[in-house]
Symmetry: C2
Subunit: 256 residues, 2 copies
């Protein structure tokens, strides 16, 4: 089984890592569209176009059996479009994260943090409401989290203040479960948990594993792993190493 994973950048390597660890025999090809990152503040039509180019690259070059959209914004805007366009299974992060959150929440109050795009798309909101219309769902866009993480400020006074502000708004609504709706946010999970210890935190990078198991495509042994980015690879190696340890990354051009 060969899986193609794409993301707007290298944040999706948190998803790649989680899949790689849990399915060691799987061939995994990752593409980060770092030349056009971020997707979180781009329009639905632009995100669809970029997602199509990412998917095309992975399908044309590696003949992948299935696609994983590691990016929450692309999952929100482009998943149905890609399924229809390419006719192969496409797993996004929104549905697995939503199911996991519904299963986890006891008081039926769920909070979602994400980029402007993910929040505006209301994709998590709608997915949860479809599962159970009685659940109260609250969203908060957190545009400062990605730059804070990329600057390496995981343990930092400013990051704590921003977490307190963003997550505090949802916490005050009485939520017991929080979905990390952006691939960068798992890097802040420990800080969020320590500032809001009562919250159950749902990480889509973990929630997605069940959906991949369900694809039921036979595995090869000794899974290959290759990572590509659309911009100069060097500048992302440091960040990628934060997630994966020592990593080799290659550069490609995917624009049509």
């Amino acid at each position: 089984m060969t899986i193609g994973i794409f993301d707007s950048g290298v944040g999706g390597l948190t998803v790649f890592k989680s899949i790689a660890e849990n399915f060691p025999e799987m061939d995994l090809f990752y593409l980060g569209d770092t030349a056009r990152v971020p997707y979180g503040n781009k329009s639905p039509s632009t995100v669809k176009r970029y997602s199509e180019e990412c998917a095309s690259f992975l399908i044309a070059n590696f003949n992948v059996d299935a696609l994983v959209i590691a990016c929450n914004t692309a999952s929100s805007y482009a998943i149905d479009f890609l399924r229809e366009k390419f006719g192969i299974p496409v797993v996004g992060v929104v549905a697995p994260g939503s199911y996991q959150a519904v299963k986890t929440s006891i008081n039926k109050k769920i909070g979602i943090i994400g980029t402007n795009g993910t929040v505006k798309s209301r994709s998590y909101y709608n997915a949860i409401k479809r599962i159970n219309g009685d659940i109260d769902v609250y969203q908060k866009a957190c545009p400062l989290f990605v730059p804070l993480v990329e600057e390496g400020r995981i343990h930092h006074e400013i990051t704590d203040m921003v977490i307190k502000e963003y997550v505090g708004i949802l916490h005050s609504k009485g939520i017991d479960t929080l979905i990390l709706g952006c691939t960068h946010y798992p890097l802040l999970k420990k800080r969020i948990k320590s500032l809001f210890p009562s919250l159950n935190i749902v990480d889509s990078a973990e929630a997605i594993l069940k959906d991949i198991e369900n694809l039921n495509i036979p595995f090869k042994e000794n899974g290959k792993r290759e990572i590509f980015v659309t911009d100069d690879a060097c500048s992302f190696e440091k960040f990628a190493q934060q997630i994966l340890g020592e990593t080799k990354i290659s550069e490609v051009n995917i624009e049509k």
Copy 2:
């Protein structure tokens, strides 16, 4: 005289505004590459390619007499390349800002704040050293400023903390002059000035005016103004209005 101005996004509207106010008879066409914003963390080759596509759009559609690169990162990486490629005058923000800073500084210690790209390129550093090799130049990349400004946090505790940290590092070197090396930063000028009142602040959006006057191309009356972006226009109107007041923006696709 017809001038084409481009930027990675809508931050360059601070430059557009400054030119529009000072040259009311000039025809001005602005392009913000909002589908691929930001340039500040992209590689030199990617920034060159994007800049070429921006310039081509303005030249092909409006037959502009000269180009203004409002983006500091693009000015840093692409100005010589565009001059050679298109054979028309190209004004960037780096040279005018550098000259202004050298003229302003009394103690010959100048600080520069900018994106990762602008700082890595050392474009301001080299430009100032070429003017006067005896000047001490200090740089600081400030990746949190753009998201803070775009979130509208101009007067905000967190923004003040970030300003104190970033600018404080340069201030402790004894600089008397600070270059705002990114088009978003003029929106923070008042806060920076109030936190560091002794600093002379150089805003490239103002410094560029002399260079435009020097182009000496005859003006028409009743200058036309048109603004284009490469992503959905709606999402940028709010931010553009912060800078320009009521503004009409159109969407175009410039990718080749």
